[in-house]
């Protein structure tokens, strides 16, 4: 072998050595030499060096999460990186979708990571469902009376206010009923608090049977109840109230093998032109209820 060929091979060898030891060799310059096999090997080495450099660059960018670098695929390894790049870009989009609440997203083609990720999404969805369920339950608990299950004062007033505003806006009618169980304190004193609770439960259960689905019953005090009857005139409300008074008067509640009878006094009114708020309507029903109490109880009195 001629001396200059040995020298050229040495340069190729040094180039490859540098490449293998993580150094950045410059371009092998074998030009000016004769076009022989050694020269061709040199060209291949240059092409390979360039492709490796592109691959390293692409791998570096992917490793730091830069997914927008264009990957020029000269080596088969680049194809895999491009594939990974596409998968990661899609994963980024999917994560955004999940953040927006789209829990249908599932990751594929990322082996163990796919399993973990998808499990995380399923768990997130399960947590969300649980929290939504708990919120609904809390909402229900906060808005209902725990003993009778009907609206408590706060949510009844919220509903009544809404009904007042709605009726005003669309020129609709509604009626309101105030009720008070007669001598409730005596029931408690004679038969005990458990009997009082049974009476309250029986009272609301029977009341709900008389009412329509659109009517709303609320427990606004110990033995005080209110009803809003949407789209109902005074005459209609009086019929409901009288039917209910009669039902309660006929009712027998059994507590510890004792029969408890009780009655209810009822005041009824309807929405009027000059009512400035729901309070005015309920106050008028209250006044009618007061008259019913004073008139001997177990009565329906209309404020109309």
């Amino acid at each position: 072998m001629e001396h200059k060929d040995i020298e050229r091979l040495d340069r190729i060898s040094a180039h490859l050595h540098a490449l293998l030891h993580n150094e950045q060799p410059g371009v092998l310059d074998l030009t000016g030499q004769q076009e022989d096999e050694i020269c061709q090997v040199g060209e291949f080495v240059n092409t390979l060096t360039e492709a490796l450099s592109a691959l390293t660059n692409a791998a570096h960018h992917l490793s730091i999460g830069d997914m927008d670098v264009p990957i020029i695929a000269k080596l088969p390894a680049c194809h895999h990186l491009k594939n990974l790049q596409a998968t990661l870009r899609h994963l980024t989009w999917q994560t955004g979708q999940i953040a927006k609440g789209d829990f249908s997203q599932r990751v594929e083609f990322l082996g163990e990571f796919s399993h973990s990720f998808n499990w995380m999404v399923e768990q997130l969805e399960a947590y969300r469902q649980r929290i939504l369920g708990q919120n609904r339950e809390l909402e229900r608990l906060a808005s209902t009376d725990s003993l009778t299950g009907v609206y408590n004062r706060r949510s009844f007033m919220a509903f009544a206010t809404k009904e007042f505003l709605r009726s005003r806006r669309y020129s609709h009618i509604f009626s309101a009923i105030q009720m008070d169980i007669d001598h409730f304190k005596k029931i408690n004193d004679t038969h005990g608090h458990a009997a009082g609770d049974e009476v309250l439960k029986a009272f609301t259960a029977n009341c709900l049977e008389v009412l329509r689905e659109s009517d709303v019953l609320g427990r606004i005090g110990g033995e005080e109840f209110s009803i809003i009857l949407p789209e109902t005139d005074l005459a209609g409300a009086l019929i409901v109230a009288e039917r209910f008074r009669q039902t309660i008067a006929d009712l027998k509640v059994y507590v510890d093998e004792q029969i408890v009878h009780f009655t209810v006094s009822i005041g009824v009114t309807n929405l009027r032109q000059d009512d400035t708020g729901i309070e005015a309507v309920l106050r008028r029903a209250d006044e009618a209820l007061y008259l019913a109490k004073n008139g001997g109880r177990n009565k329906v009195v209309s404020a109309g």
Binding site: I72, A73, K82, N83, A86, H90, W93, Q97, D102, S104
Partner: protein
């Protein structure tokens, strides 16, 4: 139906015929090679008879017609974008057309970047400098146009043939 002269597209889903009835023994499936044999010999002949630009236009238009027809017959019209994409992904996978994935979706600017892996048209083709999925461009454009009720165009920016493992499409509102 098939051989009448025409100046505008007349394809109808019914032209696919009753495959179940027509192929009681062979069934509805064939191979990807057969599909590609058709697509690339057709492309070859069209280019030979006209030119590359005309061939591309023909494939894009045919893709649009296919996308429009598929949207009408296989997809539901009453969905939001997420639902549309989910159903499209499932449909393309069930039909072995490809694995559709979204890389970017900008619903305000109406700009989307999609990839299709294991594409029926091009995955596994020999490397070249060419983006060959012209039919898919028209196909995707028509699907988006049908969903949004506005005209979209789709452009392939990366193809298996150019060394990507997936085909990448940019979908934007058509310039009016």
């Amino acid at each position: 139906m098939f051989k009448e002269e025409r100046k505008s597209l007349r394809f109808d889903w019914s032209h696919l015929g009753n495959i179940e009835w027509g192929r009681p023994n062979l069934g509805p499936q064939t191979t990807v090679a057969v599909y590609r044999l058709m697509q690339f010999t057709l492309r070859d002949a069209i280019i030979a008879h006209t030119d590359v630009a005309t061939a591309n236009r023909i494939f894009y238009d045919a893709g649009q017609s296919a996308g429009k027809s598929m949207y009408e017959h296989l997809l539901h019209d009453t969905q939001d974008f997420d639902g549309f994409i989910a159903e499209l992904q499932e449909t393309l996978r069930n039909l072995s057309i490809g694995i559709l994935r979204v890389e970017a979706s900008d619903l305000l600017m109406h700009r989307f970047v999609l990839t299709v892996a294991e594409d029926l048209d091009c995955s596994g083709l020999p490397m070249s400098e060419e983006l060959v999925c012209t039919f898919d461009e028209g196909f995707i454009a028509a699907l988006f146009s049908a969903h949004f009720g506005r005209q979209f165009t789709a452009r392939e920016t990366d193809c298996w043939c150019t060394g990507d493992r997936v085909c990448r499409f940019e979908v934007v509102l058509a310039k009016t």
